[in-house]
Amino acid sequence: MINNYFTILRSEATDNLSGVVSIRLNAHSIVYEGHFPGEPVSPGVCNIEMIRECAEAVHGHALRINRIKQCRLTTLVTPLNHSTADVTINLQEQEPNTYRLTATLGKGEETYLTLKADVADE
């Protein structure tokens, strides 16, 4: 959605419900002009949006977030200190076309963000 916020480097889906997407955060994205001036910090909401888009890449279908059950942002992510990272996606079907999304953003042993949300095919 946000033009140029991130790039998908590699997407390895085991099926249309789970996979790992490697991404690169673009330090030149327009969001850093305002978040914050002279101190670029990746907005948590942009990382949630990035995870939603990675889930769509794995799922092969547009997804809408109906409810965030819990999202923990444990690391201050910046495009300079965290230029590349991995997004893990796991979708569990609850009812037809609705899923519980469990996702993480991190690199190696380190986790920057965990997300549990109810999503639906759009």
């Binding site: 959605m1 946000i2 033009n3 327009i30 969001v31 002009e33 305002g34 978040h35 914050f36 001036p37 101190e39 910090v41 907005p43 948590g44 909401v45 942009c46 949630i48 949006e49 939603r52 809408r64 977030i65 109906n66 409810r67 965030i68 059950k69 819990q70 999202c71 923990r72 942002l73 201050l76």
Partner: protein, 131 residues
């Protein structure tokens, strides 16, 4: 200024009121808002609007002291429900209520409304830099 964010990621355009316990804010959704897609204000825009409403609430104290607003960061989002995606032109009105402060972490409840309709509700923990 009550919040430290600057364009293009300013998601609060009016603070109706703010005190030690609560704040009421608003946002009119413009067509060129970076979180608008196909004419609708999407989930990340709603969360950022809530986060910046919380920042405006937190900024009240620094504002009345004539200080610069501190950078605020979301620590946790819980039970955030999106009932609808407001169309371009919508005038959102949001109420932030402080629940508690524990060790510099503020826990708030947020309700986003469009006229009489409840657009989104959310519980958020956030903290301020250097707090």
């Amino acid at each position: 200024m009550l919040i430290p964010q600057r364009p293009p990621i300013v998601m609060v355009d009016v603070v109706w009121s703010a005190d030690e316990q609560s704040a009421d804010t608003g946002l009119t959704i413009q067509e060129d808002n970076i979180f608008v897609k196909d004419g609708l204000f999407r989930e990340p825009g709603l969360i950022e609007h809530i986060a910046q409403s919380a920042a405006a609430f937190a900024g009240y104290g620094t504002f009345v002291r004539g200080e610069e607003p501190k950078l605020g960061f979301i620590g946790e989002i819980k039970d955030c429900v999106f009932n609808l995606m407001p169309p371009v032109g919508s005038e959102l009105r949001t109420h932030i209520q402080l629940v508690t402060v524990i060790g510099g972490i503020r826990l708030i409840n947020a309700e986003v409304r469009l006229k009489d309709e409840l657009v989104a509700t959310c519980v958020m923990k956030f903290f301020l830099k250097d707090d």
